[in-house]
Symmetry: C2
Subunit: 336 residues, 2 copies
């Protein structure tokens, strides 16, 4: 792919004083479960690595293989399987208990380790002299899900993150079917948590999420899995994101009517289960600060949120830029 | 200003696996002290907020008013006046001693407070239960310099950060003269540290820095101040940046032959004192990760660094993207 984004519109801009200081081009597309494109900005046929934005899709095999039921997982675990969580105790305690139920420990997670995303949790750990473990990795729930599937299917768990492992091949096949793409030769890269992230047209990412919302054309076991995962996602916004995250704040503001999930490098998806519609956004430059606001503005522009709902989203759609003294000196707004 | 960056080239791109995942458009210009443009990418007449990239220009009054000499400041303090430092003890101890010499304390700094940029310093403070003070603000040296000038000129120090204060008006006039711009009606915003940041054409920012490098057309006191500031900047790269920062690593790799300074929102300037040349870069989307590598590639493209020097810059010019397990899974490279 030769990169060029000249035709992608400015989705978000940063204004300081009277002047636009920085701008974020990007692309966005809203798709129905029947494949109808309800709105598109920029080159939505070009590929995107979904990163963490399609975790719910990656979690489908966990439910549809029967693994989740075999190990008695509830909606909290399913939400964590779809999560990029803050590494807060509410997240790590649950993943830890889940692993114990599998007879496994944090040492079996191959996601790597990072400081919790939730700053107060990270600070408290430092004060106590505690080092982060793989449980604190924002992807630990997704990985617990992959281990659950592997155990249930009697597969080796070691190396479950590699492209060739049955766990990842099963996920790849699921994404192929749900997005209706031939991904045999699709480019893939290694995600931050060491699993493959598959290059998909942005439109196909939205289409796949829309089909999860209205799964009537999916095989029955997959349709049931999709419905259970989306239900868990909307029921536990604080487990899918965390305290003071965009995703959790967004879903709470809409009382769970629209689901939202960020991915690294400026990706975001939103799913409207009641309407069988999904929206995918990719900021060209990978800026996380722009992806959520861009999503909010796209939803508003397409009348997918009501005027009343928009009031609750205003602050998330227009984040303030503050100086070190706390005064507002600028802000992000829609550029299109 | 209507924002549009369609004609600005892709300066830096992020590749993961076989695919370009994100890209950073931007503009860059190299200018000589005589105003000759040696190379330009994108719309270099459009405005930019220099943010911290022109701190050496903002420090000119400190030296040329005689304030620095009156308070016996040496090259370390002058370097700190040009710095965005890491808040490490080597920085805060010196700024603290400087303020004491003025009969002032950290409480007189109006830059606001933030956690030190240098992670090990921030972590150590948390472990000790210490809260950051304005001394840890990356701009504390610049602000100590402004307080020094105000005291020397017998001006009220309270409110020295405001656009109307003599300290800021003096800096504005200096920037006008050095960059040869009429800035009376120039747009300005409030910087992170609460002082004004003035909108300048990118080319004028580079021109002003080039004239500081070869100041023969500046008034004698200003020329002398410029030479002393650039000397201090190159002599103490660890005070201008800090441990493991791009600027410090860059200047060390070139043994101080080229000076380098980042500014927030993807700004970077480089100054070559021996040649009277300066380069300014602005990444359209404000990405700090792209500004330094873009600068390195621009310097190489214009043969302003030698092949031998380039070897020392290779790693800084091509930062690796690693997963949480530490493996290289992608990288940044030139996009032009």
């Amino acid at each position: 792919m030769l990169p060029d984004n000249r035709t992608n519109p400015i989705l978000v801009q940063l204004t300081r004083g009277p002047m636009v200081e920085s701008l974020h081009r990007g692309r966005a597309v809203a798709v129905g479960a029947d494949g109808a494109v309800l709105g598109a900005w920029g080159d939505v046929k070009a590929l995107v690595y979904p990163r963490s934005a399609n975790k719910a899709m990656q979690a489908l095999p966990l439910v549809e293989t029967g693994a989740a039921d075999a190990f008695g997982l509830g909606s909290e675990e399913l939400a964590l399987a779809c999560a990029s969580h803050g590494g807060e105790p509410m997240h790590t305690d649950r993943v830890s208990a889940w692993l114990a139920r599998l007879g496994l420990t944090a040492g079996d997670l191959e996601c790597g380790t990072h400081t919790p995303y939730h700053p107060p949790t990270a600070d408290a750990m430092l004060r106590r002299g505690e080092a982060p473990t793989p449980l604190h990795n924002n992807c630990s729930g997704k990985h617990a899900g992959m281990l659950t599937t592997a155990l249930h299917r009697g597969e080796t768990i070691r190396g479950y993150v590699s492209y060739q492992h049955r766990v990842q091949q099963r996920i790849l096949g699921t994404i192929e079917q749900v997005t209706a793409q031939d991904l045999t030769r699709a480019p893939w890269g290694t995600d931050g948590c060491s699993i493959p992230t598959i290059g998909l047209p942005l439109e196909a990412l939205a289409f796949g999420m829309a089909r999860m919302a209205d799964p009537q054309d999916l095989p029955p076991a997959r349709a049931d899995a999709a419905t259970r995962l989306l239900d868990a996602w909307g029921r536990h916004p604080e487990l899918v994101g965390g305290t003071d995250t965009f995703d959790t704040g967004f879903m709470r503001a809409l009382s769970g009517r629209i689901l939202c999930k960020a991915g690294a490098e400026g990706v975001c998806v939103a799913v409207i289960p009641d309407q069988g519609i999904a929206v995918a956004v990719k900021i060209d430059d990978g800026a996380g600060r722009a992806a959520g606001p861009a999503m909010a503005h796209v939803l508003r522009r397409l009348d997918l949120v009501t005027a009343a709902e928009w009031t609750g989203l205003e602050e998330l759609a227009h984040p303030a830029i503050r100086n070190r003294a706390g005064a507002k000196v600028g802000g992000l707004s829609a550029g299109f």
